[in-house]
Amino acid sequence: MIKKDYIKSLLDKGTRIDGRKPDQYRDPISIEYGVSAKSAEGSARVKIGDTEVIAGVKLDLGTPYSDRPDEGTIMVNVELLPLSSPLFESGPPSIDSIELARVTDRGIRECHAIDFKKLCIKKGEKIWMVFVDIYPINADGNLFDACALAAMAAIKDARFPKLDEDNNVDYKNRTDDPLPLSKTPISCTVWKLGDKYLIDPLVDEEHAADARVTIVFIENGQICAMQKGKDSEITGKDLKAMVELAEIKQQELRKQLK
């Protein structure tokens, strides 16, 4: 157990539990594609230090929403597997997993990372539905950034399955066609503890932190989603500093995506 006071005193000296600087990611960060290639249309494994997350994409046909008859849909789901941490419990989705899923979902949905119109097969009748399911395998901090990165990696890895003569999905055969991607959102979460900011926290640091802000950037530097978390307040000055830090640091994650 490493207490808040101790973490705070380290930050005052410009360092952290594992000797990193406050604005430093763990090393190495890695992405592996096709980890469930037999069953998922797209899949990936992301490792940031000892945190490991897998994500998979399943594609299926469905009917569009009536208010968007010519657009496909996306659904992002995160399940905090008790396999991955002694702190996660079996049972219905916890509020933490719901928040993670919704923040990851928004980051992809709101910037139209996928061109949803191109997922329409027949207006008002048939569209592609994209299901992204994300699972931590070893949860050792910073799931927000790891889940978002894994989701994008799996989406990039995905290839459409073939359709048979009746326009049904033939899961056994895949085309070479990737999903129609128009943007690549990358998420960077900045955490605040006392008057200090840090990124890529370990679990003890997450527990000690007062607040966090997840900021999602697209290639041109625009921000497409944001979430402030935990129960302490932040000031306008904090927000500015956190956005500036995130903007620089998200580039390191972006480099990892091929």
């Binding site: 157990m1 490493i2 207490k3 006071d5 101790y6 380290l10 000296k13 360092t15 539990i17 594992d18 000797g19």
Partner: protein, 235 residues
């Protein structure tokens, strides 16, 4: 004619046949099946005379009487504290074992130990169902202020301590940190600066990973020398 099928200090796994014949006797981590002695636990074989036992390498802490452990105060009543010592159920520390001071009736117990405090305590009793009683009366037992606690495999703690405390003394001397090792795998570290604490942490984690290696003392010595934190120049 009895026959040993393994060597002393060899790594063994459940299901390994360790010896044939009735001359050898199964001890902890082994059992007899017909005329064979079988291993039931991942570990190192230890043969002493006719006894064959396993020194475990992995597993969660199981409380034992007389162990000194590092605990976290979790809860309290008007007459006792509940302390997490790393086992499934919390241990209890009663008023009469809490301190050698006289505690007056009606005093505020959190003046002594509050929820969240870290303590070095001694296990005085373990029942069959693993209910654990603690005492804070004894040399060295106390509340640990500041610093940090890292967790290692409880079975590696003797390696961290070393023969007559040789290993832990070496780490303390070369990093200048104060270190307490609880038998429950928790190690409390406090030093003058973060770099020294990190060096002590890394050395202990190295022992945790490779603890039964011959020549470990020499390896840790080299590790500490190689990574020694440069002393700040005196003003």
């Amino acid at each position: 004619m009895s026959k040993l099928l393994i060597e002393n200090k060899q790594v063994v796994i459940p299901g390994d046949i360790l010896a044939e014949g009735m001359d050898y006797l199964p001890a902890s981590g082994t059992f007899r099946e017909d005329d064979k002695i079988i291993c039931s636990q991942v570990g190192l074989v230890s043969i002493s005379g006719r006894l064959i036992k396993i020194i475990p390498l992995k597993g969660k802490y199981v409380p034992k009487k007389d162990d000194n452990v590092i605990g976290y105060v979790k809860d309290m009543t008007y007459s006792s504290w509940f302390i997490d010592v790393g086992y499934a159920y919390e241990a209890s520390l009663t008023l009469k074992d809490a301190t050698s001071e006289y505690i007056e009736r009606g005093s505020n117990l959190s003046d002594y130990y509050a929820v969240g405090d870290i303590v070095l305590a001694n296990i005085t009793k373990v029942t069959k169902e693993k209910s654990v009683d603690l005492s804070m009366k004894g040399p060295g037992l106390r509340k640990l202020r500041g610093g940090k606690v890292i967790e290692i495999t409880p079975y590696k703690v003797p390696r961290v301590v070393g023969k007559q405390g040789s290993m832990i003394s070496m780490i303390k001397d070369s990093t200048g940190c104060t270190i307490f090792a609880g038998q429950n795998g928790r190690i409390w570290i406090k030093g003058d600066n973060p770099a020294q604490e990190l060096l002590a942490t890394r050395a202990i984690q190295l022992i945790d990973e490779k603890g039964h290696n011959p020549g470990m003392t020499e390896k840790i010595k080299q590790f500490l020398e190689k990574n020694a934190v440069k002393k700040e120049a005196k003003k």
